[in-house]
Amino acid sequence: MSERFLVEAVNDALHVEMERDASVLVLGEDVGKLGGVFRATAGLQERFGANRCIDTPLAEAGILGTAVGLCMAGWRPVVEMQYDAFSYPALDQLITHVGRYHWRTRGTMTFPLTIRMPYGGGVRAPELHDDSPEAHYVHTPGVKVAIPSTPADAKGLLTAAIRDPDPVVVLEPKLHYRTAKQEVPDGEHVVPLGQARVAREGVDVTLVAYGAMVPLCERAADALAGEASCEVLDLRSLKPLDEDALLASVAKTGRAVIVQEAPRVAGFAAEIAAVLAEKAVFDLHGPVLRVTGYDVPYPYWQLEDYYMPSVERVTDAVRRVLAA
């Protein structure tokens, strides 16, 4: 075990997997000599050479499109998108090819590529450095999505993504890249996709979250101590989704508040609410509530704290569902 920040755990996972599997290569903007704008890929080019940690032209669709071809040539690419919203030019490749090519070849070719990117707000950044685009990815058939909330999970989920035979998008909460160190297993460490984690046990209400919203929900649970016993469920993987863990938790608590930082309409919280409506309605003692970003462009950063789900908004929702 070593104490690592979340971004250091990402870096560790890349080192371990590139050491373990010579077909893994990393490509993206500024990932080589600079080691990435957040240093997630620091040291890889020195260790594995410029042919396995590749600085590319500034062209996201080109990066993802050539990664499809690299898969066809036998590589296992790990693509870095420099920021959440910088991945939008690559959505064309993602939707039209990345999620479809395995199907298109009737299973004869696999596209084991990983797309990782820092996501989310709260970092006082310029426009389009703050988005939470997970719904675009989850909504794309053929693509899996994982979002860690802790350093250990950042390593374990990225490792699982790299080893997975399908394309996986890993969204890393940039707000928490360097907020807290945690013990991270050394060497190989896998957190399987599709296994949620009970971050905190409770009996009155389940707070369903992922990524940067998990520590927020833990703080909200602290704030409600003595008033309500909150269970915090960290989904870790949005697709595949651990429905069993979700339903088990809600069966126990009878209440659910889903917290996401992305805009509300058709966001992933709506999918969770739909699953609960279909499969848990007789366990529920109150309405399923959502605490989300608003359906507006991510705000000017002086106003971003009004947009982001806060401890106050989460505790307010919990009190409302308990009073219902």
Binding site: L25, N51, T56, P57, A59, A61, G62, L64, G65, T66, A67, V68, G69, L70, C71, M72, A73, G74, W75, P89, D92, Q93, T96, H97, Y101, H102, W103, R104, T105, R106, G107, T108, M109, T110, P112, P141, G142, K144, D164, P165, D166, G194, K239, P240, L241, E243
Partner: protein, 355 residues
């Protein structure tokens, strides 16, 4: 060697007109090679013409016609080795036939049956790319990836004039130049993107000169001249194998048929140019070249045509004999390792269907 016609902005041509323009020759092509090229042309032409009929008979769905594009497909594919890969657009849906892919497979693609979605590894032919130009980065990535692995393989990617306006083509060519990928970017400029003429597609005088901006050579050939196409592609392949990187080839022709079976070109096209293109279509042009060279008799031509027709007859019969696909194929292969919900969906569908 091909001749270069400066008045036509450097268009390379080998086949003469049987009158004032003399026939040229391509070094290294035997009489058998020339007949193999002709067989390829006739096979693709027959595939295309029969497909339009099958569409009208309701036996295949909407079909993208490639009539008069055969020389570009046959000439370029013939310059490759079997280990090299071809990345086709829908306009080259049948290019796999040149590598022995069954006719039925391609027909099944146009029938929407899963049997038409081939295994690219069987033929070194990538899946048909339907969105415009987005397969260019795949070919570049493949060629680059093969080079990184130390494999001697080149990739040929085919797209139309309209595709040169797409961002994916720009990004793909950027990557090709920077990585010196062994790739041939083959643009069949038939001068129309459905109803949009190339003059409204770009202000560039030619498409070939766009290559300069990506640090690669751009070559213009007569796309109706199978020998000029072959020779230009062979040179590009040699450059790629030598480690000198990508080449952009602009093959110029004129779209002499509708974009697809659902298109009505009378609303926009220049009928006189169509008539001229049909008069000078690429298969007949090469047949006359071979006849002038004494390499193609009527008997041999008839045998080649009959053989192609027979393959099409067998192909459509085989395609139509294929049993309907099982509903499981809706779900199969969406993932290599599927999320659990898909199995539930299939079970529910089977329950409702009763099978």
């Amino acid at each position: 060697m091909s001749q270069v016609l400066p008045a036509e902005r450097g268009l390379r041509r080998v086949i003469g007109d049987g009158a004032s323009v003399p026939d040229g020759q391509v070094d290294g092509l035997s009489a058998d090679d020339l007949l193999a090229l002709y067989r390829g042309l006739v096979l693709l032409r027959t595939y295309d013409e029969r497909s339009v009929v099958y569409h009208r008979q309701g036996r295949i769905g909407t079909y993208a016609i490639f009539w008069n594009h055969e020389a570009m497909q046959v000439g370029s594919a013939f310059a490759l080795e079997r280990r090299d890969w071809i990345f086709p657009s829908y306009r080259e849906s049948a290019i796999g036939l040149l590598r022995g892919m069954p006719v039925a497979t391609v027909l099944q693609w146009w029938r929407g049956h899963p049997a038409g979605w081939w295994n690219p590894l069987d033929w070194n032919v990538a899946s048909i790319c339907v969105p415009i130009g987005t397969h260019v980065p795949h070919a570049v990535g493949f060629a680059w990836g093969a080079k990184l692995r130390g494999e001697d393989r080149v990739a040929l990617v085919m797209f139309g004039d309209g595709a040169t306006s797409e961002g994916s083509v720009h990004e793909g060519m950027t990557f090709a130049g920077v990585t010196k990928a062994p790739v041939i970017l083959f643009c069949n400029n038939n001068q129309w993107a459905i109803s949009t003429p190339v003059s409204e597609q770009t202000a560039a005088p030619t498409l070939a000169e766009k290559a300069i901006g990506y640090g690669m050579p751009g070559v213009r050939v007569d796309g109706g001249d199978v020998l000029a196409v072959y020779e230009a592609t062979r040179e590009a392949v040699a450059r790629a194998r030598a480690g000198d990187g990508p080449t952009f080839i602009e093959a110029v022709t004129y779209r002499a048929a509708p974009h697809a079976t659902a298109d009505d070109p009378s609303l926009y096209i220049d009928e006189e140019r169509v008539a001229e293109a049909r008069e000078n279509e690429c298969v007949g042009r090469f047949a006359r070249y071979l006849e002038r060279a004494g390499l193609l008799s009527e008997d041999v031509a008839a045998e080649i045509k009959d053989d192609a027709l027979a393959r099409l007859r067998e192909g459509i019969a085989e395609a139509e004999a294929e049993p309907p696909a099982d509903p499981a194929l809706v779900f199969d292969y969406a993932y290599a390792s599927p999320p659990p919900g898909l199995a539930d969906d299939l079970a529910e569908l089977r329950r409702i269907l009763g099978r």
